[in-house]
């Protein structure tokens, strides 16, 4: 009888790289600060619901405007990460069944006219406030 214990686990267990919705949002938050030279910041707030789901809310924050916050979108998912539901302005709730689908949903929301309207207005207001 072999001394090696019986191993029934998948050989590649724990090696798959999974990017969580939270990590994706946080990376976009960092990028916003870079793209606006720090005039605007992205902020992600996470809450846990009593049904076990997680909600990540993405805000644009304008430090020069007394930290005014604008909620751009939110993502809700369960412990299994996907499907994740994306709530964005002017759109019905969208279910993303994979990381790639989530990225496409977020790309659509973050590059939308509505997002540009908010970011452009906050940038202009922030620059005025800083130069005043």
């Amino acid at each position: 009888m072999s001394d090696t214990p019986l191993d029934l686990w998948a050989t590649d267990l724990g090696t798959r790289e999974i990017t969580t919705p939270l990590a994706i949002l946080r990376s976009q938050a960092s990028l916003l600060a870079q793209k606006t030279s720090g005039m605007l910041e992205g902020q992600v707030e996470t809450t846990t619901r009593r049904d076990g789901s997680f909600v990540h809310s993405f805000y644009v924050v304008a430090p020069a405007l007394d930290h005014y916050k604008y909620g751009l979108l939110s993502i809700r998912h369960g412990i299994g990460l996907y499907p994740a539901t994306v709530y964005a302005p002017n759109q019905p709730e969208l279910d993303a069944n994979s990381e790639q689908e989530l990225i496409e949903c977020l790309r659509s929301a973050l590059s939308s006219d509505e997002t540009r309207r908010v970011v452009d207005a906050l940038l202009a207001q922030s620059r005025s406030a800083v130069s005043a």
Partner: protein
């Protein structure tokens, strides 16, 4: 005493009626949802007809328009989204309040469970802004697209809006070791035909087994710390704009003459 008027105008060109209501009731703070056009024209009409200078304070929220009869410097937004605007309102010689105005997604587009989740998120944002402001003098108004008895409105994790001042005066309730602040929701008392005024603010008839017909989607809620400044006698669901009826002869809302929602008027001692 300041007079507030909230109305979801259903994307209809109702500037004349809005101006009439603002003049008739000496409205100080006009809060509108689903305005059909940029508020510039309305602002001009108001200032021509009402005889005092209304302002359109800065905001990025596209679905809630707030016009004030006082300087924009006394009201500024602190947290907004496409359907929510929370502003600090600090008039001279009075204490600051938080004014949260909201237009929730309709049941046509969102499931009831999504509305309940959104209520929890709204409640969290309000508490966050109350912590930042250092007080809980908060007024919440808008088209919630939920009735006062629904989970998102009455649930502790949601807006926690209770039906009596006495309950609300407890300020908070503890469940499973967690403390949840109350709102007082005076709209509970406006249901049905024992209430003064219409039986709701929105009428919907559908061939379903459960049909409430009258709904109270348009609501005002106050935190317990504002109870002394808010009188139920000064809360009214309006059925007339000047001489123009907003309801038909049978009492139902006349959506062809105006909006499919009725305006809500209230006053707060500021």
């Amino acid at each position: 005493m300041k007079t507030f008027l909230f109305w979801n105008v259903n994307r209809k060109p109702l500037n004349e009626l809005i101006v009439t209501l603002a003049a008739e009731h000496s409205v100080d703070i006009l809060i509108l949802a689903e305005l059909h056009e940029h508020p510039g024209a309305l602002l001009q009409n108001l200032n021509e007809r009402v005889g005092s200078e209304f302002r359109l304070p800065f905001s990025l929220c596209p679905s809630i328009i707030v016009l004030t009869r006082f300087s924009s410097e006394f009201i500024h937004p602190v947290s907004e989204s496409d359907r929510l605007s929370i502003r600090r309102l600090k008039l001279p010689a009075s204490e600051e309040i938080l004014l949260a105005a909201v237009h929730f997604p309709s049941k046509l587009h969102w499931k009831e469970s999504s509305q309940a989740f959104e209520s929890a998120e709204l409640a969290r944002i309000i508490v966050e802004q109350e912590a930042a402001a250092g007080h809980t003098r908060t007024l919440l108004v808008g088209d919630l697209n939920m009735n006062p008895f629904e989970v998102g409105m009455a649930g502790a994790v949601g807006l926690h809006g209770v039906m009596t001042r006495h309950l609300a005066s407890r300020r908070t309730r503890t469940i499973q070791g967690r403390e949840y602040p109350f709102f007082y929701n005076p709209m509970w008392s406006r249901f049905g035909d024992r209430a003064s005024g219409p039986a709701g603010t929105y009428y919907y008839d559908s061939a379903e087994h459960v049909n409430y017909f009258w709904n109270l989607f348009d609501q005002v809620l106050v935190r317990p710390s504002l109870l002394d400044r808010f009188s139920n006698d000064h809360l009214e669901i309006l059925t007339m704009a000047g001489k123009i009826p907003l309801v038909r002869g049978d009492g139902r809302i006349d959506a062809s003459a105006a909006s499919d929602h009725l305006p809500v008027l209230f006053r707060l001692d500021l």
